[in-house]
Structure formats: structure tokens, C-alpha cells
Amino acid sequence: MFANILIGLQNAITLPALIAMNFGVFFGIVIGALPGLGVAMGVTVMLPFVFGMETNVGLLLLLGIYCGGTYGGSITAILIKTPGTEAAAVTVIDGYELTKQGKSGKALDMALIASTIGGLISAFTLLFFAPLLAHQVLRFGPPEFFSLGLFGLTIIASVSGKSVLKGLLMGILGVTLSTVGVDMISGGQRFTFDIVFLYGGLGLVPSIIGLFSVAEILLKSHTLSTAKAQAVSKLDSKMGLTRAEFKESLPAILRSSVIGTVIGAIPAAGAVIASFISYSDAKRRSKHPELFGHGSLEGVAAPEAGNNAVTASCMIPMFTLGIPGSVVAAIILGALMMNGLIPGPGLFRDHAPMVYSVMVGMIIINIFMFLQGKLLLRTFVSFTKVLPSLLMVLVLLMCLVGTFAVNNTLLDLIVLIVFALFGYVLNKLEFPLPPVVLGMVLGPLVEKTLRQSLLISDGDFSIFVTRPISIVFLLMTVLSVFFAIRRQRKLSK
């Protein structure tokens, strides 16, 4: 393992990788700091750029955006009471109170330090834990992978949005769409209507960009003509964090980092949940709980450590099992698969230098994030002056050019337009969009392993319930749906 880590380090400190990580972090912080864009959109927009790059360099770029964006959300949350990302919503509570008290410098320092520590703990967990888990997964056969894929699909579909039913329907839709194209096992065409362009299936890049970026722009388009830039007028960054203040918040940072790391490793739990749990845990254990909600530094530290601790650990199920832990992980999984790499134990066996360079790179990314946050804060804040309408037009053009660039065909843009309109309408009908992408990504795995399993067993379905690991995953699938329905009923009461 240590030899692999050294090789990974060597590959992660090449000039292209260092540039990619730095650019990713910079772009991510800017995207995260701008309310209304979100990390998923940032990663999506840059997705087409990774095709011209080496796999590890491209992945490091996307992961840089993910880490930077998750931290960047705290900047506007603290300064203008508008979280740049959903995960920074809790940071507003105490962060903005501190700004009102003239202590924005302290709050921003705390957010940066906590995010960095959370990210580093998570990255080290990924580096040491993922290979061990991958080793265990080597024992999996097609039935286990089928049950696992089914679990991944249902857990994410059932926790996305308010309705379990709508989430499941969207997941099913994604799997159905993944069947378009030439069938990998029999070689027959499915739903291609004799259109050559569809033989390769619906492209993941135009689908993802259409659903997550263009649909979002269409949804916001009616407000753009009146929307004004939410610029930060005054940045009081002179009064930084003292050693005593940091020491006092350190236990909360460390606990929240562990909470975020554990939550991140659970598929679908995500950064928002991690930040809420971290905040309430910090409040419960704090020596000064009365300060929470009135400008507590621990109240900034806990959610920021928690949400950034999700970024690396959510890659654990993705790298080892092929099950993405979040929407962003699903997009990154798509990028991996488009490069011909299949996540899972084989990835660690056949592409160890690439995987280890990405895992080591996650540590370096967090260090760059700290340095950029310290040195370029004013630059990031200045981006809040950009008019939303200008921003959206530029992002839209980037989406279009990027989509075209992947396969050099205008037909991909038709797919993009269809998915954008489809995302727009379904969003209005309160259907969650992430399960569609997951269905499209996991669909081929689920179908292939289902058919392989039934081939092995001569069509006998008992193969899925006679193998212990498979049973465990099937039980987890049933339980995840059951608990999601129960949670939904409780909420509706």
C-alpha cells in the first residue's frame, strides 16, 4: 500500500496535476461563493474539459471544484447571509451574526481552517480505508454486484426530494434511458430507431449538463432580468482568529470532521445532513451553547468541518463499490466510466497509480484550498459583483461548447436541449433530478450483473438470496425504502 501511495504522490505532483488542482479549487470556490450556481453545476460545467486530459488530472480538476465549492459556499453565507451552497445553510446562523458584530474576519478564518481540517481527515480516511474495502469487494460476484447496484439505486432515489415514489420513478426512468443503444451482451439495438447516433446510447455529458446546468438556468431565467449582483460592500478581514479561539473550537472541528467523514461514506447522506448534524452536536457539547445563534465561532466551525469532511469520504463507496455517495460523486463516476474505467476492486488492481494519485491528490487539494482561501479571499469576494444575467449567459455558452467538444457533434446538443426541457418540467413537478443520473450510471451495471447472475443460475432467482453478501444488500435495499417511506409519512403529518 505504501509503495502505491508513493507512486500516487509522484503522479499527483506533476505540473499538469498541480495546475488542475489549483484551477479546480479556484473555480470551485468562485462557483461555491456565488449564490445560485452550486457545486454540482460547477463540476458539470467542467466535465467536458476532462476528456482532453489524463484521467487522474481530469479527476483532480473535478475534485478540486468539489472541495473548493463546498468551502466557497461559506463565504457569502458569512458575509451576506446568502449561502452559496445548500451545505453552507447552517453556517449562515452564526457566521452572519459574527459579521454583524464586525468579526467577519474571524468567521471566515474559522470556516477556512475547519473546512481544511475536515477535508484532510476525510482525505486520509479515503486513502487508508478505501483500499481495504476494495480488497474485501474482490470476493463479490455478479449476484452481489446486482444487489449492491439495486441498493445504490434505491437508497439514493428514496432519500432524494420529498417523495420516495417520485425518487424511485426517476431512478427507473434513468435505468430505462440507459438501455438505449447497442446491448453489450447480445449486440442487438435497443430504442435506436435506426439512428446511428443512438447506437452508442444517450451521452452522459449532454444528459448531465442538460439536467443540472441548462435546466437550472431555464428555471432561473425569468428572474435574471431583475436580479442584481449580491456584492459584498465591505470586507473586514483584518481581525483574524486568535490561537485561543482556535483551541477552543478544535474539539468541535475534530468531532464534526469525524461525523462528516462517516456520513459521507454512507451513500446519499451528503454534505447538507453532515453540516446539520455537526452543528447540533457541537451545540449540545459546547461549553457555551447559549452563544449558538448569536455569533458562536464553534457554530461556524462545526458545519464547515462537517460538510467538507464529506468530500473525500463520499468517494469511498464510489471507488470501491461503484456506488456514488452524492450527486457530485455520481457525475465523477460518470467521468470515470466515460474514460473506460469501471469503479470497484478492479480499479485498485488494474489502475492503482491513477487511483492512488487521486486519493493523495485529495490531501493536496485541501492544502491548496487553505492557501487560496488565505491569500485570495478578496479576489473570491470580488466575483460576487458579477451580474447574475452575465454569469448565466457565460455559463450557458460554456455548457454548449463543452457538450459539443466531447464528441464533436451537434447531435449531442439536441440531447442536451431535450434533457434541459425535461429537467425544467420535472423540477416544476417536484421530481428530484439526481436519481435519473444515478439510474443512467448504475443501470448498465445492474442490468449486466442481473443477466450474468441468471445465466449462471439457469434463470433461478434464488441465486440472489442464497449468497450471504447478496442477501445483506437486498435486505438493506428493502430497509432503505421502508425507512424512507416512514420518514416521509412522519414529515407529512
Binding site: V175, Q189, R190, S225, L400
Partner: protein, 143 residues
């Protein structure tokens, strides 16, 4: 109209379309084999069943309401889509990446009633920057 009912009907129609398309669009498997029709059939049936449940849930329970007009794209969304289509058509007709994209960003900014020459200047510069990144650095053949 309730969102669950409209959504359920949409998925029901989609599920039925998939179900009826399978015989024509997906080759039949060899006898006794689990073939390429297997998963599409399961998905179509599951979609139909779940959408019926969603419709019933919508008719009996309380859920968000939305008008038909509310689902349809707003004027700005439609115009934005039209702008995207015109960008694609412009490239397909061979107008070239830079002229088409310049028209695209200027029309987009006008559509959203953006004021200030600096915003237009930034947008124009961005078109050239994108060209540089894609055509020169990433060596993508832009039309």
C-alpha cells in the same frame, strides 16, 4: 391541478410508450435466454405501477398544486431555449463558432435586459477566451 397527478400521468404515458415500443425496438431473445428485452420490460411495468400509485396518492392526498401554465416554460425560458437552438443552427449552417457565439451572448444579455457596456465587453472577451481554450489548448475542432 396536483403535481402528483400530472407527474403520474406523464410517467404512465412514458411507461406505456416504452412497453409498446419494446417488441419493435428491442430484438427478441433466444428461447430460454434472459435477453435484451428483460430489463426494459421490468422498468416499463415498474414505471406504470408506480405512476398509478402516484396518481392515486395525488387524487386522495394533499400535495403541491400547480397550474398547467406553471409547468410550461416561462417566456424567458422559451426564449433561452430558442437562443440555444439558434446557436446550434448557426453552427450547423457554417456561420462559424466566433460569430455565432458573439451573437449568442449579446442576444442573451439583451434578453435578460442587462445594462452596462462592461458586461457586454466581458461577454465578448469570454467568447474569444473559450475559443482559445477549446481550439488552441484542448485542440477541439470548433465549427
Amino acid at each position: 391541478m396536483k403535481t402528483n397527478v400530472i407527474g403520474g400521468v406523464l410517467f404512465l404515458v412514458f411507461g406505456l410508450v416504452v412497453l409498446f415500443l419494446i417488441p419493435a425496438q428491442v430484438p427478441a431473445p433466444e428461447p430460454g435466454m434472459i435477453g435484451p428485452r428483460y430489463v426494459p420490460y421490468i422498468m416499463a411495468v415498474a414505471m406504470i405501477l408506480l405512476s398509478v400509485v402516484l396518481i392515486v396518492q395525488g387524487l386522495l392526498g394533499k400535495d403541491g398544486k400547480v397550474s398547467f401554465r406553471g409547468i410550461l416554460p416561462s417566456k424567458e425560458a422559451l426564449l433561452t431555449t430558442l437562443l440555444i437552438i439558434l446557436w446550434v443552427v448557426g453552427l450547423a449552417l457554417g456561420l462559424g463558432f466566433i460569430p455565432t457565439s458573439l451573437l449568442f451572448v449579446i442576444a442573451g444579455l439583451l434578453l435578460y435586459r442587462t445594462k452596462g457596456w462592461l458586461n457586454y465587453a466581458i461577454a465578448v472577451a469570454f467568447v474569444f477566451l473559450l475559443y482559445l481554450v477549446f481550439a488552441v489548448f484542448l485542440r477541439v475542432q470548433l465549427p
